[in-house]
Symmetry: C2
Subunit: 336 residues, 2 copies
Amino acid sequence: MMTCDWDATSGWHHPKIEPIGELKIHPGAKVLHYASELFEGMKAYRGVDNKIRMFRPEMNMARMKRTAIRAALPDFDSEEMINVLTEMLRLDQEWVPNSDVCSLYMRPTLIGTDPTLGVGCATEAKMFVITGPVGAYYSTGFQPVSLLADSRFIRAFPGGVGAYKMGCNYAPTIWVGKEAASKNCQQVLWLYGENEDLTEVGTMNIFLFWKNEEGDMELITPPLHRGLILPGVTRDSLLELGREWGEYKVTERTLNMQEVKKALAEKRLYEMFGSGTACVVSPVGKILYHNKVTDEYEELHIPTMSSKHGVMQKFYNTINDIQYGRLIKDGWMRDI
Amino acid sequence: MMTCDWDATSGWHHPKIEPIGELKIHPGAKVLHYASELFEGMKAYRGVDNKIRMFRPEMNMARMKRTAIRAALPDFDSEEMINVLTEMLRLDQEWVPNSDVCSLYMRPTLIGTDPTLGVGCATEAKMFVITGPVGAYYSTGFQPVSLLADSRFIRAFPGGVGAYKMGCNYAPTIWVGKEAASKNCQQVLWLYGENEDLTEVGTMNIFLFWKNEEGDMELITPPLHRGLILPGVTRDSLLELGREWGEYKVTERTLNMQEVKKALAEKRLYEMFGSGTACVVSPVGKILYHNKVTDEYEELHIPTMSSKHGVMQKFYNTINDIQYGRLIKDGWMRDI
């Protein structure tokens, strides 16, 4: 693991890479009381040429910097941090799996450590990075997930911090995840507002491929501007690829449950999938929708798995090809 | 400090009381990534009869239990926990100040400790309690605070966890507190929704004493039902005392900025104050209000300090008299 301490007087100290071990944290540390904490999730891949690469690490580090400022935790130099990650990967390269379906997950984390119970800016902080090899997400092919969509549970709201990767966005979702599991749903489809706008799914961004009311084939994902959506690196990558290919319209816009239901009824909705670092894409097979008017649950079947358009599949294949060095996309993969 | 571990297999272990020291926490522990954490704030007082007492500890423990369930952290027995706090106070009784303006602050905390990066229920957890003597909050008399009221910053929202004392409610407020400080305000007056309803002030509940539009003298605090408000122990105590005294109407209802401005203009607003464990009551002297229509700031002067009604002052005196044993209120003080 890497650890690096910071304090308000002397700034960042020298980073250390050492065997993983327990952290010593004062029981009054801000991270334990006021959730002064944030993290990133990223991966290193061993390419078919045996070279180890990170996927768009500058995107993660830019988001981590923005999050640090919003969380009142110390700022840092992104490129310096990528150097540290590179150094870790060089040391730990045997842990990057020799497989084009596995990878090494990396978890940079920043916590406020000063033991003062006032709710205020951290005056001491610790950055650390832990890593772990992860196996194939889809060892037996894509597994469509069932989602609980219930607008009584809200993940993020305008004026809040839903656009930042702060720890505080996750704790409130765990109990809702249990509710979903009790209804045989694997994830929560997070809705927002009067119109029940789709925002995210579980800890992923959400995409929908349909024929819109004007008859155009269109890929849609909700927009970032209201601060309700985490700006995912995979989300950004899918949008860029989709626009590059030019095979269909690519749109960032607000999308609500009534539009989804109408498109399903008119058989215009072909695919719905989450996007994220862990899985790249994750197909949605069912939505268990809580109708707030009738207070009843409706099962919506999403035909993602039987789509003949192969939009999700092409994203999956392309991103994988890029990550494992079978396909070059300028500026996306960073050699260590 | 007290520590007590829990795991999903064997439940709670025996609590230990030992000298304060750093906790050993795995870098993958849920508390460091997903804010799996909650706390309570409570005090022990040395009465004028030299007996040490806690103020309504069953209220704090009931809230802590509710919060543990919402945070997907383990449940516990409230009375057992009060016994543990009592045992700590017996051991540490020399730390409870010999003064009727000081007290011993107690911070029970519950964190998720299992080192698994999945966003899910904690399978291991740690309860700990740290304490520290605190001095007089008002060593030179009441100090009125200035509040920043800006509806672009939201503390809590329906469908969220604003009614629970989870760490995640605090991290997002720190940056907003810096914004307030940069405008010479000590606290944030948290507004919510289209009508800019008053919800909380800093980390306190908010009270207002006015003559309402019907001409009745009335004490108002926002209601709990929308889940936007932390159910404060001091809030509950002021409501109970105010109703017992019967000197004015006591109302829990939604209150918005336009009503505050109108009442100020009509000179019907006499007092505004926060309520909380740290200060009992905290007078508001000024609101710096961001007008969302004009995008300009308006200074509202709140005449709390020159009120002839003495509502806040009577609450302060009465709660202090109860806490230091000069006045008996059945069931509120718990002997150790």
